[in-house]
């Protein structure tokens, strides 16, 4: 879901850059520097995720993991994802350098939205929490597809067509990410619930 160099027009790139910069600024403020290792590991996981090809279905889809990143980092998803995207762009040429802002919005905004939508449920009873985690994994990928479609609207691509194609291509990814997110949430609920957002102050 990375947009390559030279695809988007100047205004789109600039707007994406501005929004991503704003998100990153807020993210850096809200980042818990005492828990920087958490952000580092999630950023590294996101970096590696795009190399994992999901072999079911169309051959062009790869893991994203922005749902999990969003759930555990909230606003700090922006800097974490941005760092990983810079490295992906430089080392693997995934996504153009000028498109970094737009690509950050594609990956990090859904992460943030899923954080707001799903985090209230994570400390409730297990079935509800895991369902919310699964939904988080699915929704974050779907929202990323929609933002990708939005970004391409100004390059003569039809929003509904593009979004439909990308979502359809990523349905296996959505299911896999739903499971991964649910597994991680289940693990953390047992081991260190304070790492999950919305922990009740005891």
């Amino acid at each position: 879901m990375h947009i390559s160099e030279g695809v988007l027009s100047g205004p789109v790139l600039i707007s994406g850059g501005a929004l991503a910069a704003a998100g990153t600024a807020i993210g850096l403020k809200k980042l818990d520097y005492d828990r920087i290792a958490k952000a580092g590991i999630l950023s590294a996981a996101f970096f590696v995720a795009s190399l994992v090809h999901v072999p079911i279905g169309p051959a062009n889809a790869h893991l994203i993991l922005n749902g999990l990143v969003g759930l555990l980092l909230g606003w700090a998803s922006f800097p974490a994802i941005l760092v990983a995207l810079v490295l992906q762009a430089m080392l693997f040429q995934f996504g153009g350098i000028t498109a970094l802002g737009v690509n950050t919005m594609i990956m990090a905004l859904p992460a943030l939205l899923c954080y707001f939508i799903c985090s209230p449920f994570l400390h409730k009873k297990a079935s509800l929490a895991l369902a919310a985690a699964f939904a988080c994994g699915v929704l974050s990928v779907a929202l990323s597809a929609l933002i990708l479609g939005l970004a391409l609207v100004f390059t003569e691509e039809n929003f509904f067509e593009i979004s439909a194609i990308v979502i359809a291509a990523h349905i296996p990814v959505m299911v896999v990410e739903g499971f991964i997110t649910a597994m991680c949430v289940a693990f953390l609920r047992k081991v260190q619930p304070s790492m999950l957002p919305g922990a009740p102050e005891s």
Binding site: M1, H2, I3, S4, E5, G6, V7, L8, Y33, D34, I36, A37, A39, G40, I41, S43, A44, A45, F47, V48, S50, L51, V52, H53, P55, P58, A59, N60, H62, L63, V83, A84, L87, Q88, L91, F92, Q93, F94, G95, L148, A151, L152, E157, I162, I165, V166, I180, C184, F187, V191, Q192, S194, E201
Partner: protein
């Protein structure tokens, strides 16, 4: 909320979990990319272009544009079902071949003018292959290094 002391047992568990998730990509055959690749080679007076998504799937009906280095468009075409496209060399200068494969995928390949001469002389150009594993290690190393630096600075600030 009071900052918690460093929990080694938890760190070990998180490390194991990370490797379980990370082992998904150990099968290097499926290590792959969000990107479309294009290769072009010269044979005599024809240029053969091949296109693939890094997952191996060919690019059907990808748009090809061939220009010279000043940006003047020389010709256009579409890749066939095998992701291939061939054209006669329009002029023996540096040629830029651009592939657009939809949903934001784009790739470029430049043929230096020298390659036409080499091909005429019967020599095959060498293609470089980038090391994926090496770059993964570099990227992860960078992230962990950055994390460590931030943690160190934070620690020093707290002690003051």
């Amino acid at each position: 909320m009071k900052p918690q002391p460093f929990d080694l047992a938890l760190a070990k568990r998180i490390w194991i979990l990370f490797w379980i998730v990370g082992s998904l990509w150990i099968n290097t055959a499926s290590v792959d990319a969000h990107r479309v690749n294009i290769f072009a080679r010269v044979e005599g007076d024809t240029v053969h272009v091949e296109s693939k998504f890094s997952s191996g799937r060919r690019v059907h009906t990808g748009k090809i544009t061939v220009s010279d280095t000043t940006g003047t468009e020389l010709l256009r075409g579409t890749t066939d079902e095998n992701g291939q496209f061939s054209f006669k060399v329009p002029q023996k200068t540096d040629l830029k071949i651009v592939l657009e494969a939809g949903t934001g995928h784009r790739a470029e390949w430049t043929i230096p003018a020298a390659e036409f001469a080499l091909s005429a002389a019967g020599e095959k150009p060498v293609r470089k292959k980038e090391s994926k594993v090496k770059n993964v290690i570099i990227g992860m190393g960078f992230i962990f290094g950055l994390t460590a630096i931030i943690a160190y600075i934070r620690n020093r600030r707290k002690k003051q």
